[in-house]
């Protein structure tokens, strides 16, 4: 009996100790998380970039910076577009975001500003006029809110362009469409030849949006979306929206989009692959896919088989055909939760590491137009000068450059819009249903 008591006590003690050890290690897990991820070594700023066209350029820029500034290094990680958008918001909300927050401006930037998560950079650019002066002013404007600067452009102008495969067009004997009617007339022509008229990365949903953005702009002008973004009551009820949605469904009915478009993800670049393999004749996509195709299908681009043009006009439409939609650029914001050392390192990079001559040249070589002034001669000298000068002119001469709607609106509105637009492309809802659902999100 006595012996038993002893062992029991011993056992109890052992259990208590191991339980205590366990809870200590659990507590350690809990506290090491944030400390570990916000400062990997003192003074090291963290940066999250996007995979795709600009990835090698950014990588090179950071490597060059790190080798020259061993005391102010930057740790760079890359994420796929859709995954990044979710991850960064969650991380910033949890106080574990990177020092450099990659963004698009617009409503998402505003939500960070409202939550006090990003630094006000107004004083920084006042003290460093060189930083401000290097940018195209129209692009710089997109990082401002209420007269203050919260984000600085970091790469290239990305207008949405209508790309086409010239080889396929020659085979069918077609010309690039200048009006919506011409575009619709091309659909049966390509279908007869067994080629999909348009490629579309429908699973990603945002490529669908490019169609709505351009159609609404061509039909009703940029004011229609300006009212929506300003949260005016019933702004979605503008007749231009219903007409644009109706046109999209007509194009779906006519078989305008490639078979299986709703399961094609744009992040995997399968949508561009359809264009350069000749399975699809055209694609409406951002300026960045030129970089992607140059990398994945160099021959197709260099041999001049890739055509590009502006979105067609719509008969009776009010919008200027020179208007552009897309992303004026991407931006760096600096996390307000970063340590002073991290912020200093980050601002130093923004001042001296970004848009160096080498960086600008790398961007141009990758097939992109940097958002800085005085690069005309460099663009002229590039083997991609046809596309680059086209994009540069497009962005520079546009009477209106509308930011991608999903970025311009608040995240909740943007998500509702993309899911409902997906339903429009699948013909699950009518344009009228879309309008009434979206009107209910105004102000949210």
């Amino acid at each position: 009996m006595k012996y038993q008591m002893k062992t029991r006590k011993l056992r109890t003690a052992v259990m208590a100790i191991s339980a205590a050890a366990l809870s200590v290690s659990l507590a350690a897990c809990g506290s090491s998380g944030p400390a570990g991820s916000t400062s990997a070594g003192s003074g090291t700023a963290t940066m999250w970039g996007l995979t795709g066209g600009n990835q090698p350029v950014l990588q090179k820029s950071i490597e060059a910076w790190n080798s020259a500034h061993s005391d102010k290094t930057i740790k760079l990680d890359f994420f796929a577009n859709d995954a990044y958008k979710t991850k960064v918001r969650t991380a910033v909300g949890a106080g574990e975001g990177p020092t450099f927050i990659y963004g698009w401006g617009g409503g998402v930037l505003k939500s960070y500003v409202d939550a006090g998560q990003v630094e006000d950079l107004s004083d920084f650019i006042k003290e460093n006029p060189k930083v401000k002066d290097r940018y195209l002013p129209s692009v710089l404007k997109n990082g401002e809110l209420d007269g203050k600067t919260y984000a600085l452009p970091n790469n290239n102008v990305q207008p949405v362009v209508l790309y086409y495969n010239k080889e396929v067009f020659n085979k069918v004997g077609a010309e690039a469409p200048k009006t919506w009617d011409e575009l619709m007339a091309l659909v049966p022509k390509f279908k007869e030849a067994g080629i999909a008229p348009f490629s579309l990365g429908g699973q990603s949903k945002w490529p669908d949006l490019m169609w709505l953005e351009y159609l609404v702009d061509r039909i009703g002008g940029p004011e229609v979306f300006a009212n929506i973004a300003a949260n005016k009551p019933d702004a979605w009820s503008d007749p231009a929206v219903v007409e644009a949605l109706t046109k999209i469904q007509e194009l779906v009915d006519a078989g305008g989009f490639v078979n299986g478009f709703s399961s094609i993800a744009a992040d995997s670049s399968a949508d561009q692959a359809l264009l350069y393999t000749g399975k699809a004749a055209m694609i409406l996509q951002g300026g960045w896919i030129y970089q992607g195709m140059k990398k994945d299908a160099g021959d197709f681009v260099t041999s001049g088989k890739l055509g590009f043009t502006t979105f067609p006009t719509v008969e009776g439409g009010k919008g200027d055909p020179a208007n552009v939609v897309g992303n004026p650029s991407n931006f760096w914001s600096i996390s307000s939760k970063a340590t002073q050392e991290e912020k200093d390192a980050a601002l130093e990079y923004v001042k001296d590491g970004m848009f160096t001559d080498a960086n600008v040249q790398d961007l141009i070589n990758s097939g992109a137009v940097p958002v800085v002034q005085g690069i005309e001669s460099k663009l002229e000298a590039s083997p991609d000068k046809e596309f680059l000068t086209y994009v540069y002119g497009m962005a520079k001469n546009a009477p209106d450059f509308t930011l991608s709607w999903d970025q311009a609106l608040t995240p909740a509105q943007g998500d509702a819009m993309l899911t409902n637009l997906d339903q429009i492309f699948l013909k699950k809802i009518t344009p009228e249903q879309f309008v009434s659902t979206m009107n209910a999100t105004i102000g949210k």
Partner: protein, 300 residues
């Protein structure tokens, strides 16, 4: 009498100490109960993940319960659960019985069957997404129009494609469970049945199935409750699309929380998910009868 009671006490004394449960209990408290209470609390707030958490009463719940997408998500979940069970249960039972046999070729086949167990859900989803692509996939590659369907883009087909891929991934796991169960059945039962003149089919029906009762309950619980947690595979394969066709409850919760940034509504969905999961698990345990400790082996 005295001997029995002293034996009883002895048994109790020698039984496992309650302290043994402490490590597991701490884990459970920290990683299950505390977050669970957090979710319940969040479901009565509105929070966009960035700004302050604001109490908002029942507004998240009314949003969730009046949203037709929630109803649709429940329906999709129920469908996937039902079809997954109907497809997986018979296949894994039969495969389990088959692979339990000692023959060499069966052992070799069993190894092949279990290969999908080694692959992560994301890898399985990416592979199937590539194979099922109507333009670059298997159908287009082999020039077989029948395989070049719009498998993942057709709202009517996609649910069954998803059920198929889930089955492809999980049948090996359940086969393994059944294989173990069958191997535990004493051969004397079959020998006796053979003497009584029972054929193969009769033996399967009257010995194998009843003896596997608890294995069937375990496997079914895992299948049914598990289908409430299918997320990674479907997220990568279809992202819930096209439209809402494969947006099942866990996916709906994730998209509401992390895409639409409505953490309040997402938490309400989480609570619904937990309640359904617990109810189903309890129900299945009940179906197994009250006497959970009864032996399923010979002489019970």
């Amino acid at each position: 009498m005295t001997t029995t009671s002293s034996i009883r006490r002895g048994v109790r004394d020698a039984g496992p100490s309650g302290w043994l449960a402490v490590p597991a209990l701490v884990f459970f408290l920290v990683f299950a109960v505390v977050p669970l209470l957090g979710v319940v609390f969040l479901s009565f707030t509105s929070w966009d993940g960035l700004r302050e958490i604001k109490l908002s009463g029942l507004s998240s719940w009314t949003t969730v319960l009046t949203d037709p997408v929630t109803g649709n998500a429940l329906l999709v979940t129920a469908k996937i659960m039902f079809f997954s069970f109907m497809v997986q249960a018979p296949i894994s039972l039969l495969l389990g019985v088959f692979t339990a046999g000692g023959q060499k070729y069966r052992a070799a086949l069993a190894v092949l069957y279990f290969l999908p167990l080694l692959l992560s859900s994301a890898a399985v989803a990416i592979a199937f997404k590539a194979l099922l692509d109507p333009n670059f996939g298997l159908g287009a590659g082999l020039n077989l129009p029948i395989l070049a369907q719009d498998w993942l883009g057709n709202s009517d087909l996609v649910l069954f494609v998803v059920v198929f891929v889930i089955a492809w991934q999980f049948v090996p796991f359940h086969t393994l469970i059944y294989q173990g169960g069958v191997r535990q059945i004493p051969t004397s039962l079959y020998e006796a049945a053979e003497i009584d003149g029972a054929g193969r089919f009769r033996q399967f029906l009257n010995i194998t199935l009843p003896q596997l009762k608890y294995t069937i309950i375990t496997s079914s619980t895992l299948m049914v409750v598990g289908s409430l947690a299918y997320f990674d595979l479907i997220f990568v394969l279809t992202a819930g699309g096209p439209g809402y066709s494969t947006r099942l409850l866990p996916l709906h919760m994730y998209l509401t929380g992390f895409k639409a940034n409505d953490m309040g509504a997402a938490s309400a969905l989480g609570v619904i998910l937990i309640v359904i999961g617990l109810a189903l698990a309890l129900l299945l345990q009940r179906l197994g009868g009250k006497n959970r400790n009864a032996s399923q082996l010979e002489g019970a």
